[in-house]
Symmetry: C2
Subunit: 441 residues, 2 copies
Amino acid sequence: MTPTTAPSPLTDEDLADAWPVLSSEDRVAGFRMLPPDVAEEFFDSLDAAEQATLLLDLSPAEARLWIRVLEPDDAVDVVQAAPEERRADLLASLDESTRKEVSALLAYAEDVAGGLMSPRYARLRPDMRVDEAIRYLRMQALERLETIYYVYVVSADQRLLGVVSFRDLFAAPADKTMREIMSTAVVTAREDTDQEELSRMFAEQGYLAVPVVDGEGRMKGIVTVDDILDVVTEEATEDIQKIGGTAALEAPYLHVGVLGMLRKRAGWLVVLFFGQMITATAMAGFEDEIATAVILAVFLPLIISSGGNSGSQASTLVIRALALDEVRLRDWGRVFRREVLIGFLLGAMLGVLGLLRIVGASALFGGYGEHALLLGLTIGASILGVVLWGATAGAMLPFVLRRLDLDPASASAPFIATLVDVTGIMIYFSIAKMVLTGTIL
Amino acid sequence: MTPTTAPSPLTDEDLADAWPVLSSEDRVAGFRMLPPDVAEEFFDSLDAAEQATLLLDLSPAEARLWIRVLEPDDAVDVVQAAPEERRADLLASLDESTRKEVSALLAYAEDVAGGLMSPRYARLRPDMRVDEAIRYLRMQALERLETIYYVYVVSADQRLLGVVSFRDLFAAPADKTMREIMSTAVVTAREDTDQEELSRMFAEQGYLAVPVVDGEGRMKGIVTVDDILDVVTEEATEDIQKIGGTAALEAPYLHVGVLGMLRKRAGWLVVLFFGQMITATAMAGFEDEIATAVILAVFLPLIISSGGNSGSQASTLVIRALALDEVRLRDWGRVFRREVLIGFLLGAMLGVLGLLRIVGASALFGGYGEHALLLGLTIGASILGVVLWGATAGAMLPFVLRRLDLDPASASAPFIATLVDVTGIMIYFSIAKMVLTGTIL
């Protein structure tokens, strides 16, 4: 299985598949066996943490070669992904001007515009003419520009004055100046703009790049859509994992070791377990009722899980709508009214099904004794109550979390289910006591 | 609240918020009140269905103006989103050459490369020189090109020969030909390449555009990264909604009416409800045990929901890993072994907690009678079994669905919870019978 002994030619796909389970020696050996252009593609496909590990395993000369393949904003991610004590080594393998850029970018958090931006953008003065600009950019393109689909017009003190798309630059008459053809309605991000907000800006307007400015309007860099694509994917993955009741993983599923996986999953499971212990306490309060009418216990899982299901629907819909900014904090009242109505209708529907099931079974097979109708009404009403409560609580909890500046996605399906289980037991047995006391209770 | 009577100036944000609840007259009135540049931004921010509705509500002259703002690939989405009988009206408002392009694109499904591509890309002949190419593109940019960051080199019969990035074109000496500077290792998509696969291509390699070719290698169009950003967001939303146990919504949460919402949610709820009815049947089989030892019913919700929680964790992790291609169908064995181990460890941890809870409460408050230890062992062993089963079943079900060509995301948290509830009851009472018969049973 190790590439050094494999008789057939090694492909980048084989290597990618085996990567997580290979020793560092085998990774280096495998990587060196790839043809240069395949190696570059393979290197690009690794995430920042994997690139950092590989670079540190390679010889210093090789590391120098490979880290220089990266754009400064990607090099920053690699340096940040390396262990603290090895970062200096990686920085040392960069050429001097890139090292300066990377060091400046290292000051920003990974998940804000400053941490995502590239300092390599095309900037021009407002009085430059179109033909001069094109000539100048042809020279600059030889050097290092991350993108040239927008050209930014800046003042002498680096204040952003306007933007010209490359297409407009190309289409403009040669003797116009930048000032004449630039658009001044520029959407900008601040250095500390959160990556989620950035991705909404890109998604809504279809930008290819957004300039990042500081508090005084001075241009600092640009964030490009390809970096945002990663952000969007990563944010969705985090939300999905949280909705499933796990802490967000920091690497692909198969790359997280068993211990790491336990750390990510045990936390929530234990919290939920303690939450569920309350169900035992709640149940203990109704032990007499269960002893008198064991039939009540029989329908318990059906009832509480119906509430958990409707709650999980409502919470995931609201979590996603909040993440996409389709719903804002101030919309909570509208969402509340909708979910009360929808929860009531869904609950009524399932409640009738539950009632019919019991009355039907009683009529057909004579089960449930003479009080089948009363039992059916108890079950039906409980389902209605629990589903209504599940939908309402599930829809409101993400708002509460957002209001407290916590992540709405923490209102996970298991969390809602646990919450609804506890209250569901109370609802069920309270209704049972009201309806059935004097008959089967 | 209707814009026509609002005394304060209408902003596009106000309009966007009120949009779903406005009548079509008010929408048109509000839209007409926006300043032209704001109106264009607002129009861009609507989704295709909303654009279609608005265009059909506007006067034919206005509709003609606004539909021409759209690139052909976006115009296609709008036409597809309109009711069948009104599509001809929309097509008629396009200029003739765009109408031809749009009609050609209408033949493709929305979610494949053909349905996402734009026919407006820059194409050049292989023997064109760099300076000629730049001059030619300056002329073309005046016309309509969706993007100019890549230039495609095609033969006389439109076969794709190579690609030149705009940056390389700019940096190349004026007298080189396209053939000399083009890259021939072009990653292409087929017209029927699925949008999920396309987004993985973009995510892995950071492309800005990918050319779409037919079976004979003839160039048909390009898919650009900004369209892929929408695809990635949309696919994640669908997966999140399915994981929550809802059918995917086709519009933002607040734009789906109550009836539409019921349709999306009732289906799964009813299926799950019938699934949960099996729990009642399973429980009925253990009525004697419950009657003898009511205490068993008390711990039932705790036990089955622990399984549901670990199952929901495993299934969401695997669903997302499959969606991102981090895990493939053939990896099922590896995932199975991991989840058995992780499920065992998590189950053992929670099982010990459950055991301690009962033994502890017994020691402190004298609850649970003389057989507290046996009861604790029953609860602990059941939790272990149920959590292990939850993790394993939750991780395997998405593979089974993918194998059957169904969407792995249908292995929703509520679905797994229901599946695990039924089996959890069997596991719990079977262990209870084994351990407790002769003591409290």
